[in-house]
Each structure stands twice: as C-alpha cells, then as structure tokens.
C-alpha cells in the first residue's frame, strides 16, 4: 500500500516535473577486441546539454542536445529500443521517429570511423566549424613533458629551454592525470625532453589508459630499438607513438622497424632545417619504403616554407597521411598552419591543448612560455580561466 501511494505521488510529480538534463561530464567507449577496427569515443556532456564528441582523439564533433543524448546512449551501448523509449519519454517525439534518428546517428558515426577519408559535410550532412572556433569547457588534449632531460650526446637545439626546479614524481603526475580526466580532457601525450628517460613512463601510460584516456608518446625512438622495452610500453595500452626522427641514427631505424611490426599507430616527424632540406626528399622516400604511412612535418624557420610545401606534396604523392597539431619541435610551422595562416583561424594553443612542464607548470603550448598556473597545486578552473584565449575573450 505504501508502495502504491509512493507510485501515485511519483506519477503525479512526474506530470509536473520537466525531465532533468543528463549528468554533465565525460563518458568513454572503447571498441571491443573483436571489432573490425579499434576505435575510441569520448563524449563530454556540457551543462547546457550540448556535447563534444571526439573520435579516436582526433575528429572533433559538436552536438546539439538531441545528438548529445544519442551519443550518450551510443557510448553507454544502450539497446536501440531502450534509447527510443528513453528519448520519447524525455522529448516530444514518438518512439518510432526516435528509433530512426538513433539508428541514423549511429550509422553516421560508424561511417565516419570506418571511412575517415569521407567528407562528412558532403556525404553525412554534417555542418563544418572552423577548428578551435567553439567555446569548450576543457581542452581536447594535454601534453605532458615528463622531463627535460635528453639522452647523452643528443642535440639540445630542439629541446625546451626552460629550466625547471624539479620533476614531479609518479604520484604527482597521477594527480595531474586525475585532474585532467575530471576536467574532461580525453587525450594525453607524454613528451619531453625525452620521456623514455623516465622509468615510470609505462606506469603513467597505464594509469592514463585505465582512466579511459587516449595516450600517446613523443620520443626520439632510441629506447624503442629494444624490443622488450617497446613491448613493455605496448602492454600498457599505449595508443600512438610519434618518432621525432633522426634518420641517420641506426638505433632509430631499428625502432621504426620494431614499432611498425607492433600493434600501435606510428607517426614519424621530420623537422626540415637548412641543413637537411636538400636530402629531405630522399629521407621521405626511405621512410615510405620502410612502411611508414603517417607523417608529421615542420620547418625550423619560416624561410623554409617552400621546402616544407614541396615535402608535403611529395608525401602526398607517396600516399603518406599528414598529421599536424602535435607537440613536435617548431609545431607552429607545419604545412597546414602555414597554408591556413592567411585565414586568421584561431589557434588551438591554450584552447584545444595545454602543455604541462616537468614541474607541473601549465603553458598554452610548447614554446609559449606563459605560465597559466601549476596543475598540481592550482585548481583546474583557475588554470583554464587563465588560458590565453579565454583571457582574451574575457
């Protein structure tokens, strides 16, 4: 009897209570091992019920509230019939239409995952937004410089120059990863200096992966020549590796060979300098012949733009995919940023990504020495408010 009374009260209450928004926060989905291709989905539900949906830590979608709810159910793997029922209870829509819309939404996302070359505006009816043009509640990526140490004999020319008082220990980095995940950052890249000099690197990658983050490693590759070390890293769930390449280094050649044989996405970065510009094309062909399919390019100075553009043309002719916006040396001088410079598009630094130094200080990006706060000590909100672009807007 008591139950019936409560039910009646609840039913009456339900008549007059508008449905609540889904809980704002981050949601994650990883394709099961038997999926045709591995993929990761990260959904960030915002307080205004819109959503940011990130596919494989690279493709950024902005969703209206209805699409955000469908994405939520996609990530939660809710059966289609339940989704239709839930949506029709919350919205003025019949279950049949809700079911159709959910199936269509799923197919659009699956098509985008399985056919990354497809133009989603033309073929999937998506709208296009300029990169980094939207207000967001947290960056898409955190670049963590675990150390500024370099291997013996390494050329320090490309290494960050800021001196730091100390390096954070493992627990402190875990605290930073906790904060980043809670803020809604889905992707972390471990960089340096040379991050493989940190003995706790695999522990930190594993920690990030267990939280649900996509993890990447930017390295000179020398330690990856050791198959056991590489295997140890791969056991953590590491998603992608970028080798900052010195093709004359034989150890790196072995690292490329080992990594290509492993189940991890590999990108090779070449920095075009005045010294290597003449033989860069030869290096590129050598990389392509070795099986490298993804490439990152930057130029050490703006005057090398023609050489950089020629390399970009050559890489396309060789069928190599271009990756950009990762925290590589001279990352601002990449082919795409130079090509779109005249369009005055907003930068992703301090907005789509942030950079954490070995002592926890946060910069908008590598090489922009403006400290926004310390991610270990300061609240996330304070750092985010301090970020350059938000500061400009406010």
């Amino acid at each position: 009897m008591k139950t019936k009374t409560l039910s009646l009260k609840q039913a009456i209450k339900r008549w007059f209570t508008p449905p609540e928004a889904l809980t704002a926060g981050s949601y994650h989905f990883q394709a099961p091992p038997d999926a045709p291709a591995p993929y990761r989905l990260h959904l960030r539900l915002e307080p205004d019920r819109s959503g940011v949906f990130i596919i494989n830590a690279a493709t950024v979608l902005h969703l209206n509230p209805t699409a955000a709810e469908y994405a939520y159910h996609l990530v939660q793997n809710t059966p289609e019939e339940e989704v239709a029922s839930a949506i029709s209870r919350r919205y003025r829509i019949n279950p049949t239409q809700a079911h159709q819309d959910f199936v269509k939404f799923k197919e659009q996302i699956q098509t985008l995952i399985s056919t990354p070359d497809l133009d989603p505006v033309t073929f999937l009816d998506f709208d296009r937004l300029n990169p980094y043009s939207q207000e967001i509640s947290a960056p898409y990526r955190l670049d963590c410089a675990l150390t500024y140490r370099l291997p013996e004999g390494a050329d320090a020319a490309y290494a960050p120059t800021k001196q730091v008082d100390r390096e954070l220990d493992t627990r402190e980095w875990e605290t930073i990863l906790d904060k980043a995940w809670e803020a809604g950052i889905p992707h972390v890249v471990f960089t340096g200096g040379e991050p493989t000099l940190r003995e706790d690197l695999s522990e930190l990658i594993r920690y990030a992966e267990q939280k649900g983050m996509v993890s990447g490693l930017l390295t000179d590759g020398q330690r990856l020549a050791d198959p056991e070390y590489l295997d140890m890293l791969l056991q953590t769930g590491l998603d992608h590796i970028m080798l900052n390449l010195d093709v004359d280094n034989l150890a790196v050649a072995a690292a490329v060979k080992n990594t290509l044989a492993a189940d991890v996405h590999l990108v090779v970065h070449l920095t075009i300098t005045a010294q290597n510009a003449a033989r860069a094309s030869w290096q590129l062909e050598k990389l392509q012949q070795s099986g490298i399919t993804a490439l990152s390019l930057s130029a050490a100075e703006a005057s090398l733009q023609p050489a950089l553009q020629a390399m970009r043309e050559h890489s396309a002719a060789l069928g190599m995919s271009l990756v950009w916006d990762l925290p590589v040396p001279y990352s601002a001088f990449n082919p795409v940023s130079l090509e779109t410079a005249a369009e005055e598009q907003p930068s992703g630094a301090g907005h789509a990504w942030l950079y954490v130094e070995p002592d926890g200080d946060v910069l908008p990006a590598q090489g922009i020495n403006r400290v926004l706060g310390n991610l270990l000590r300061d609240p996330w909100n304070a750092i985010w408010q301090n970020s350059e672009r938000r500061g400009q807007r406010q």
Partner: protein
C-alpha cells in the same frame, strides 16, 4: 478580474516569453493630456541573466492640461532592485521614486517629478535607469538550447495623449556573442517597425538589435524579442515554467469565474479537466525535440591544387584528366605528339625538372604498349586520386569544389571577354587547364572559337603533328609576354579547326589509349574505392546517404574517378 489577469500572465509565461507587462498609467486626479514625441529604451540583457533598462521619454505637455507631475513606469516584473533605480528630468535628478505610488498595471515604480513637473505647453525629458531586474529570461519555446528575451516598452492610455511617437527599442545582448548566434523574433504586433532589426556592436562589443518606428503609437503595446544561446547566461537565470503554474492559474480562474455555479458541475468538470490536463501535461513537460545536429571541426578550402588535381576532386572523367596531363607535358616542353591516331608521344630531352609525379608516370607509361600502357595509366590515376585524397584530409571537399568551380568560371569569362582574336588566343593559352575543368569543354570550345581565327600558341606544333612549324615567330604562351595589338605575322589557324583539334585530343584518349572508359575507370575505382564493408548496426537505416558505405561518393558511376577526399584529420 485581477485573477483573470493572473491567468493570462501565467499562460503568457507558458509559451516561453518574458511577458513584460508594462502599461504605464498617469491616471491621477489631474487632467493629463500630452504628446510623447520620443520614447527610447535600451534593454541590456546582462551576462548574469539580469536585465537593465534605460528609458528616455520626451513629453510635450498640452497647453490646456495640468502639470505633468508623475510618470508611472511599468517594469517587467516585481523582481527589480529599487536601489539601482535612477531618474532625472532634463538632467536634474529626482528622488521621489516609489512602488507604493505606482498606479499602472502589473509591477512598476512611480516617478514623482516634483519641482520639475512639466508645465502646460512645455517639453520635458524624463530619463530613468533601472539597474537590476531578475527573472526576465525564459527557455525559447522553439529551441531549448536558447534563452528567450522579450520586452514590451511602456505604453500610455490613449485618453491622455495625442500624436505620434518616435519609438526606438535597442536590445544589448550578453557580451561575448558572435553576430550569427542570436536570433530576433518576428512579432506581428510590431506594425510599422522593420521586420528585421538593425544590428551592430555597441561600445562594449555587445551585439545589439534596434527596432525603430518614427510614427509609432505609444498607447499601443509593441513586443520585441530575441533569443540567444543559453550558455551566455547562468542556467539559474532561466525561468522554467512548470505546468503546475498553469494548473494553479486554471484553478484560480475556475474559482473566480464559477462562484455561483453548483458543486457537481465543478466536480464533473474537474474530473474531465484533470484527465485532459494530465495527458496534456505529460506531453507539455517533455522537452522540445530538435533533429540531431552534428558539426565537425575542419578547415575550409584547400588551396594550391593544380588544375589536374582539381579535376580529380571534381570527378572529371579519366580521359579528360589524362588529356589535361598530356597538355601540361606539352606546354612544359616535356613531350611531343608524334602520332594522333593512334596516339603516340615521345619525351623531349632533357626533361624539365619541375615535372610532377603524375606527369612523370604518365610520360613513362607511353614507353609501354597496349594493355601494359593502359595499366600504367590506371596506376597513374590511382596515385593521383590517392594523393588528392591525402591532400584533402582535414579540408572541406564541398567548399574546395566550389572554389575551383569559381576559378573555372572565371577562366572562361576571361577568354570570352577578350575583344580580339589575339587577346582571346593568349587568354585561352594562359587559363586553358582551368577551362578544361568544364564538363562542356568540347562544346564551349567550339562555340568560343568557331567564328574567328586562333593565333596558335608556341607549343601547338608539339600537339599537332600535322601543323607545320615553319615559323619561329614568338607567340603568347607566357603570361609575361607583352600584349599583342595585331595579329600580323603570327601563325594562325581557323577557329573551327583549332576547336576541332582540341576536342579530338580528348576523344582520342578515350578511343586509342585507354579504350573503354567504363572498363578503365572500373579498375581505378576498385583500387581507390574498394567494395564497401558493412559497418551498420543492422538497422534499416534512416535513409539519406549515410548508410554504412565505405565511400559514398559518386565514383560508382561510369566514367568518373572520384577522389573520395576530404574531411576529418
């Protein structure tokens, strides 16, 4: 009557508007009669969700009336902060500002003009500023991600006034908004106002909407509205109208209106009313459904493609694309046609250094014969398509195609606008590769050149083996060449022959080099667009073009070779 007004008010809220009830009254013992020559109101929709108002009212008091001693200023609701109200008359502050003295409808304040009362026959400018009014924003009834901001300026009883009013209403929307984000409401009650407000930034870089009517009737209620994304104001600032508000209003109305009716009527009516209301409330409490909308971050136009790469992107037939490569080689002095039927070319040594990879592959293909040559050309096409696909990653295919389509149109326009055969021939030489993006290239070439002679470019002899290159006359193949005022001495051919020769070149490729275009294309697309792998969840799909295919572009059609390019990162 008061209860009825409450109902009306609640129902007005239920449709999602900031119903501002601001009928201002001057009904006191005195005889009021005036003209309101100007009413200017600035409404600031603040980032904390509050509203600020700034009124300027210019009264012209009638010579026959009493002093205009009070102005009742209606406000949107009772949630205003008295401490933030300021008023002056002709710049002289007044302090007699009370709620108790207000005699208008709804909420508001009475402005006692005191010593600055506007005397008969005189003009007075009353200025009032209200700093903080809360609970003025509602959820937009047509888009639940937007806030609705609606405002109606003060009105005065028609019995007190005469003449027209220059009425200006300006909304200052919350800071930080891009011009394309807010929307104005179209309100049929705002007769005489432009349908579309003027929009500029104010001094604080806030987007403004301004409506103005120099011949307005200040006794008439005009309503103005705008909506903007909810994210610009705190969620807590939005007034959510639950259906219980409407129900309570309904009960009040029934009680007020049926006090003389018998109880049974109320009971029966109440029962059916409750059933109806419950069904209605269940529907009404649910959120408005908007179709799912997905936007992707990506760059727009991919600039820097060659005409040949643009042709691939625009899904030109492979014979056209290969012909374009042939012309590019001939113009670069890298190849020469030695026979048209069957088409045979030879390399010109030394080869230029600036050849592109597809040009090198193309010319090397002609070292082969028959099927081997055809396969080599197919490989060239495959490499070209894949390279364009790689280049287009992260860029918009749609916008890029529109960009190159525009280049094509402008190329033809330049050729067609030329007044003389010399200039026309020179322009055509300069932009020929872009005109070849035209699917109607053959017909258009015939139309443009058929009636006038064409002064052939210097490379013509390398293209047409039958053409006698007995003259070494310099021609116009370089854009930097001085313009030619006369055709005297330049080699020329009849326009019809020139056009026929160009068109034949394209047709020859299909006929004598690649054979059947469909078969040729088939092998290319099998490689660039393999048979789709089903990725569908098994549903029947929502129609459209998104049904789990590996490549949805039009490359399945015969005679085109789609790059399937673009998008994403």
């Amino acid at each position: 009557m008061r209860k009825f007004l409450t109902i009306v008010f609640l129902l007005a809220l239920a449709v999602g508007y900031t119903a501002l009830f601001s009928a201002t009254d001057l009904a006191r013992a005195e005889t009021y009669y005036f003209r309101l020559t100007q009413e200017t109101v600035n409404i600031f929709w603040n980032s904390d969700g509050t509203q600020s108002l700034d009124y300027v009212l210019v009264f012209e008091n009638s010579p026959t009336a009493d002093n205009l001693a009070y102005v009742d200023l209606g406000l949107p609701n009772g949630n205003f902060d008295m401490g933030t109200i300021y008023a002056d008359v002709d710049g002289k502050p007044i302090t007699d500002i009370t709620t108790s003295g207000y005699q208008g409808s709804g909420s508001g304040v009475a402005l006692g003009l005191g010593n600055y009362a506007i005397r008969p026959g005189k003009v007075g400018r009353v200025h009032a500023f209200v700093g903080v009014i809360q609970k003025v924003l509602y959820e937009d009834s047509s888009d639940n991600t937007y806030a609705s901001a609606v405002f109606a300026p003060v009105t005065f009883g028609s019995q007190y006034m005469y003449g027209e009013t220059d009425l200006t209403v300006t909304f200052h929307l919350p800071p930080g908004m891009a011009p394309e984000e807010p929307r104005w409401h179209e309100d049929k009650t705002a007769d005489g106002f432009p349908k579309q407000p003027s929009s500029v930034y104010d001094a604080e870089s806030r987007v403004t909407y301004t409506w103005r009517n120099a011949h307005a009737d200040a006794s008439k209620q005009y309503t103005f509205g705008a909506s903007f994304p909810l994210k610009y104001v705190p969620e807590s600032a939005i007034v959510r109208v639950t259906f219980i508000d409407v129900i309570l209003g309904g009960i009040l109305m029934i009680v007020g209106a049926t006090s003389e009716l018998c109880i049974p009527v109320l009971v029966i009516g109440g029962f059916f009313g409750l059933v109806g209301l419950s069904a209605y409330s269940d529907r009404k409490r649910r959120m408005q459904y908007l179709p799912p909308k997905i936007s992707i971050e990506g760059h727009g136009i991919k600039r820097g493609l060659t005409a040949i790469e643009a042709a691939v992107l625009m899904e030109q037939p492979p014979d056209s694309i290969l012909t374009m490569i042939l012309f590019a080689l001939i113009k670069k002095n890298a190849a020469e046609v030695v026979s048209r039927e069957p088409l045979e070319i030879k390399k010109i040594e030394p080869m230029p250094e600036d050849l592109r990879y597809y040009e090198k592959e193309f010319i090397n293909a002609f070292d082969e014969k028959g099927a081997a040559r055809r396969r080599a050309l197919q490989d060239t096409m495959i490499h070209l398509i894949r390279a364009v696909s790689e280049k287009m990653k992260g860029f918009s295919r749609k916008e890029t195609m529109a960009y190159y389509e525009d280049i094509r149109k402008r190329a033809w326009a330049q050729v067609e606008a030329a007044n003389t055969p010399e200039v026309r021939s020179q322009k055509f030489d300069e932009v020929m590769e872009w005109t070849m993006l035209d699917r109607d290239f053959n017909d258009r070439t015939r139309d443009v050149f058929r009636h006038q002679p064409v002064y052939v470019p210097v490379w013509w002899g390398r293209y047409d083996p039958g053409y006698h290159r007995h003259t070494a006359t310099p021609s116009f193949n370089r854009p930097s060449a001085p313009s030619i005022s006369s055709g005297g001495g330049l080699p020329s051919v009849p326009g019809a022959d020139f056009a026929a020769s160009m068109v034949t070149g394209v047709q020859n490729f299909a006929g004598s080099v690649i054979g059947n275009v469909n078969d040729f294309t088939s092998r290319v697309t099998q490689s660039t667009n393999p048979v789709p792998v089903s990725t569908s969840s098994g549903g029947s799909g929502g129609g459209g073009r998104s049904g789990g295919s590996s490549c949805a572009c039009a490359c399945a059609c015969a005679g085109c070779a789609c790059a399937c390019a673009g998008g994403g990162r």
